[in-house]
Subunit: 429 residues, 2 copies
């Protein structure tokens, strides 16, 4: 009977068949070992020469790293074994011998590992990081589903240009130019009058010439949009959402976080409310500490790092100057130099994981901002329609999946938290 | 207290505040009505002139279609009312007056409606169809999560060209050409040795010059891949999966299916096993019925329609000729002219919703097929590596979201089952 390694506890004393990949083998005269990985776990098999036929003994001897094998054996509880079980091999069949495996347990350069990303995925830390990503993604869907949000898939191919005109990937669309979406936000706004609370979840694209550890040209984003919500409601939703994602990872990925050597005491208290600091107060605090920052400037990564040092929770910085932010953000009635928005900065130097705002719902003020930013008004005609036909207060935000998972797992480079990273100089595999 | 319409049953006799969009108003001397939609439901408000102040009476008189309003009133059970409730208005405030709404309850041409897709979303049938889509998407994630599949996001920007070289969208990637992915399959195969069972879910792209009711240039696909599964296992997974999606829609979208006038007796018996017909038997049956089809040809839409007429369940056609199918499908050992694959055809003429296959796991045979198809071998070097380092039997499939939801909801055009359809001549809004 074929079973998987993670279910071995239900088969103690039974003879079972396992199929998987051989991580290592060793042999000491009349006893030999193999470590088998089947994608659900890892287990040690023990082969006694006297207990198996020659074919099995020879098969074991022929195994190379990452060969595929089918092992039949008896399951034994063994608290010293990794995973708590061992398999006493009765027979072993080679399904496919592997050529010499390129990734060895020594230090490879990152370019080599990224060139072999299709194989590097099999390494324990990469598996652990991507397993947390998968759990966090399901948690994202569960969070919004349970709160009656309707999922709205927004288009990737668009005629309008989104936020950052200089960093667009362009393609020929049957003779017309099309751009790969940088955000789904404008489109989810259109769905609010149909469904009230909505969200999109998908890949987004930035043709940025950045080589930092926090940039990808292709990354995944979740963007909820809530009708009749103001900027305060928006921040409350963000802190509940982020806390839920952390909770789910802690609950269902304890093993993976251990493999990643994540100090979970840094995240196990992440619960609402999160601290809040206005942009203006943030600038004052930075100036106090000798930072050279002028009111009106956007905050840089080093500014953010200093501000978050004071907190062991994610930190909201809210109400930035209008010039530092996107055209669709609502003017702050109490201080029209600023807009009603927030950035959520993760602790431990992980930086921005969310950008959110209340949206400008005044037709004339929005049109003015589009003109000020010199955006092509025609491409936004449909977006302006949303203010023409039943305008409404609404707010939303975008959370970057890779940055969030990098923080939760404590990994330095976000490129490890996406299965096949796309970087400025990397399109393969 | 602000509530939403779908929760009114918990507030009978109470005075509540509702915010939403005005679908219609009418007035008969001293009593007036409005239909309010808030994205969670629709309710009728009744305004008695003698019961409200002048401001509210005048506000009602000023309301135009799709204006945004805030209504305070008492909730009354009324079995004759749509939804079962009515609101006796105590006060009414106009939040934003709408200009003359372009979509009127008369027949608009489809181009007009698609030009106004950002508003058309608000219509009851469009809302219903997209709500079913959202439910089916959550069901997709739940199905695989509960079966311990790991979600693997595959890249959109790729250097390799996928299945159909002639129908690719291309972009400039920092000086090199990149193509928008037509499938994530090759990449999920790479993740099997790490996670065993995996799936991807995301948008895919075809630059096809097709204008049928079954084609989009951008559509969403779910693609599971299962290690150590053969073609038989694969078809079993498909029928369980599709049955689950139908079940979830029936369970949680009864109201939406009613709005769409879907005859649910056509789908309420969709449960495994589904009927199976080999390609060879299918050709024999078609020939019997006078169709001009030769063994070796792919089946056309009219062939498929005739074959599915005999069944009220989805129908598997399996083991097509090698030439009609993609290079990565495994040669059938019992008949090497064919490959181990299946198409799943929905009943009622909805056609193919799934394509699946066992994958070629023999390095030499796979390389040969890549050469036969004149594909650039270098771009597939990493894919061949998967057969070099621990090859393994595996199978998977791709299910098209829009086609599946079109069948479940009984809609003719798949363009209505995606929020912002992309067609050959449509990139706006």
């Amino acid at each position: 009977m074929s079973v998987v390694i993670k279910d071995l506890s239900a088969h103690i004393g039974e003879s079972v068949a396992l199929e998987g990949w051989v991580e290592t083998t060793r042999s000491h005269g009349k006893v030999a070992f193999l470590i088998l990985r089947d994608g659900t776990g890892v287990v040690q098999g023990v082969v006694l020469k006297k207990a198996v036929d020659d074919a099995t003994w020879e098969a074991h001897g022929s195994l190379t790293q990452e060969s595929t094998a089918r092992v039949v054996g008896r399951v034994k509880q063994d608290d010293r074994a990794p995973g708590g079980f061992e398999v006493e091999v009765e027979s072993l069949e080679v399904m496919a011998l592997a050529e010499e495996y390129p990734i060895q347990p020594k230090e490879h350069g990152v370019d080599f590992l990224l060139d072999h990303r299709h194989l590097w995925l099999r390494s324990s830390q990469q598996r652990a990081g991507l397993k947390v990503r998968s759990e966090v993604q399901q948690a994202i869907h569960d969070f919004f589903y349970r709160r009656d949000f309707t999922r709205i898939d927004t288009p990737i191919l668009t005629g309008s240009i989104g936020e950052h005109a200089g960093t667009l990937f362009e393609t020929d669309y049957f003779g017309d130019p099309a751009y790969m979406a940088q955000t789904g936000q404008l489109y989810v706004e259109a769905a609010c009058p149909a469904f009230r609370n909505v969200y999109c979840f998908g890949p987004t694209f930035r043709a940025e010439k950045s080589k930092t550890r926090r940039h990808l040209t292709e990354f995944w984003m979740v963007e909820p949009e809530v009708a009749f919500a103001d900027s305060e409601d928006n921040m409350r939703l963000q802190e509940e959402f982020v806390s839920y994602l952390v909770e789910r990872a802690l609950e269902n990925c304890a093993e993976e976080l251990k493999v990643l050597e994540r100090d979970t005491s840094k995240i196990d208290h992440v619960k609402p409310p999160f601290p809040r600091l206005s942009y203006t107060d943030a600038v004052a605090r930075l100036t106090e500490r000798g930072h050279d920052v002028t009111w009106g400037d956007d905050l840089g990564a080093s500014d953010e790092a200093v501000l978050t040092e004071d907190y062991d929770l994610p930190l909201f910085i809210y109400n930035y100057p209008k010039e530092a932010k996107a055209f669709y953000m609502k003017e702050n009635p109490d201080d029209p130099r600023t807009v009603l928005c927030d950035d959520l900065l993760a602790p431990e130097g992980y930086g921005e994981i969310i950008g959110g705002s209340q949206r400008e719902d005044d037709l004339e003020r929005l049109r003015e901002r589009i003109r000020e930013e010199k955006l092509p008004e025609e491409a936004y005609a449909w977006y302006l329609d949303l203010r023409r036909y039943g305008s409404f207060p609404h707010s939303g935000f975008g959370l970057g999946v890779e940055r969030t998972v990098a923080w939760i797992t404590g990994r330095h480079h976000i490129r490890e938290l996406i299965p096949f990273p796309r970087l400025m100089n990397r399109l393969y595999p």
